[in-house]
């Protein structure tokens, strides 16, 4: 089976030049037959070779943390070897996509579910998983169909069990997923112990984003050298990003890592002269435009520019919106979504949201701005999960990037743009937890 090569751009949906479409099929969702026709049969390699291949490929997690996937596989395999003779490991494929501004995982599961399911089978075999879960936000019919097709063809020794993640921002977090699978509340737990050491059902657990697993399915077929043909040396391969906001063609794109932000946004059709872009999602950072257009879109590249790749969210602030107002709304959402387990977060994150609310919609005095800055320091690193850290990073980047707006609000109250309809989606919340 030939490696996937250059594909023609879909009419009406421009893609960056030289892009190699690997994950997303150009012609529409793949059923099992189309998937096997394009990629060939599932290559059930011997466990050690897959882990080595993934390590050599330099694949990093696509769920947001960008942790080297090979290292995670190796850690779980070693933990399994130490606990030899017992019940096997657990694999959890995380397609929960709790980040409201991201839709790449649902697009991937809708269009190429068999890549994800192949990845689950391969990674599961590599770490000796006796149980595999696929966690999704909702159980769509395409996914049900794909699983039924594989069951009929007898493809998977350990079929993936679908588990619907509880609604809520923290429910999709690694330890929260495991806690729910263990029959507990879908809330984060203390680390250590790491899931790789003791996770679901007290067994070593490998948790990987569904996009990461899809890449693993391709690396197993075409090899690490092929994987490295796209992307950069520090950030190899392709990634899915969700582009939104002030662009003419918002949606999910597959890009080679390292492409310039300006090039990517141009192909998505940048509208007007936006002043900022939110990178990395609600845990991420604002970057000023046009200054950040030169930054490479990759985890190390964006981090160096002061932003983050996260789960691949890029939301361009439209000219008619106020960045401080958007940030205040997101912080309010994060504060309501906090698990309520840790004192510094359940006290500090709402306080930070309230301070940002004053700054965005009121007339903040200097002490309010100072208090907001102090709160970002107070809540960082003091919770069981990274929700307060993310909120702090978002708030701090807003205060810096929109510094002019902060001063303008302090002088004359909120700008007219603060009351424009919001750009960043805030879900209505049956999933509110904590209080």
């Amino acid at each position: 089976m030939s490696a996937p090569g250059l594909t023609a751009a879909e009419p009406g949906r421009p893609r960056p030049d030289g892009q190699v479409l690997r994950l997303l099929p150009a012609e529409g969702p793949h059923d099992l037959r189309a998937h096997l026709h394009r990629h060939g049969a599932l290559p059930l390699r011997e466990a050690g070779r897959l882990i080595e291949a993934v390590e050599q490929s330099g694949l990093t997690g696509r769920g947001g943390a960008a942790f080297p996937a090979g290292r995670k596989l190796r850690a779980v395999a070693e933990a399994a070897a130490r606990a030899s003779g017992r019940a096997g490991t657990v694999l959890v494929a995380n397609g929960s996509e709790s980040e409201p501004a991201s839709s790449k995982d649902s697009v991937l599961l809708a269009n190429a579910p068999h890549l994800v399911l192949d990845g689950i089978a391969l990674a599961g075999a590599a770490v000796g998983a006796a149980t595999s879960y696929l966690c999704v936000a909702e159980y769509r019919p395409e996914l049900a169909r794909a699983i039924a097709e594989r069951a009929q063809a007898g493809l998977d020794a350990v079929p993936a069990q679908v588990s619907v993640t509880a609604p809520g921002y923290v429910s999709g977090q690694e330890t929260a997923l495991i806690s729910a699978l263990n029959g507990g509340l879908p809330l984060p737990t203390l680390v250590p112990p790491l899931p790789a050491q003791r996770g679901a059902h007290r067994r070593p657990t490998l948790v990987l984003n569904v996009e990461t697993l899809a890449h693993i399915a391709l690396i197993a077929r075409y090899g690490p050298a092929w994987f490295r043909q796209a992307g950069t040396a520090q950030a190899p391969g392709t990634a899915l990003v969700t582009i939104g906001g002030a662009v003419r063609a918002p949606g999910v794109y597959e890009i080679p890592l390292g492409v310039r932000l300006g090039e990517l946004l141009a192909h998505a059709g940048l509208a007007g002269q936006p002043e900022a872009v939110l990178t990395g999602g609600y845990f991420g950072s604002w970057l000023p435009l046009p200054a950040a257009l030169h930054a490479p879109v990759s985890a190390p590249g964006l981090r160096e520019a002061g932003g983050a790749l996260g789960p691949g969210v890029l939301a361009v602030l439209p000219g008619q919106c106020c960045g401080l107002a958007e940030t205040a709304r997101v912080l309010g959402y994060l504060a309501r979504q906090a698990a309520g387990q840790c004192g510094p977060c359940s006290n500090g994150t709402p306080a930070l949201a309230e301070a940002m609310n004053w700054i965005a919609f009121g007339r903040p005095r200097d002490d309010m701005i100072g208090w907001a800055r102090q709160l970002t320091w107070l809540i960082t690193g003091r919770g069981a999960c990274h929700l307060p850290d993310g909120a702090a990073v978002l708030a701090a980047s807003a205060l810096e990037v929109f510094g002019e707006d902060v001063r303008a609000h302090a002088r004359g109250g909120p700008c007219a743009r603060a009351s424009a309809s919001p750009m960043l989606p805030i879900p209505t919340e049956p999933g509110s937890q904590g209080r």
């Binding site: 737990t189 203390l190 250590p192 112990p193 790491l194 050491q197 387990q341 840790c342 004192g343 510094p344 977060c345 006290n347 500090g348 107070l378 003091r382 919770g383 069981a384």
Partner: protein
């Protein structure tokens, strides 16, 4: 490279802001505006280790932990491990 030596950390889920650790080890632990402990970063100085152990034992919810080194894995909440002296460099 971070130094070896035992480090204090708080299990934020178990911590209920009783504040005994702040009373017993003010050299390393201060209170935030809501009464929760802020731990000074870095390893515990040798002369404070006995006091740190006392603070760990005094926590009503066993939320304060003294781990042997920066990447040591604890058993998890509810079980405090006592520190070991850092091994001499080879």
């Amino acid at each position: 490279m971070s130094e070896g030596g035992p480090r204090l950390r708080v299990n934020p889920i178990a911590c209920q802001a009783h504040g005994l650790c702040i009373e017993l080890l003010p050299e390393l632990i201060t209170a935030d505006p809501w009464g929760y402990p802020i731990i000074a970063p870095g390893p515990v100085p040798d002369q404070l280790i006995p006091l740190a152990r006392r603070a760990v034992a005094a926590c009503p919810t066993l939320a304060l932990l003294l781990a042997a080194g920066p990447d040591q894995a604890d058993a998890g909440s509810g079980t405090a491990r006592s520190a070991r002296r850092p091994r001499a460099a080879r």
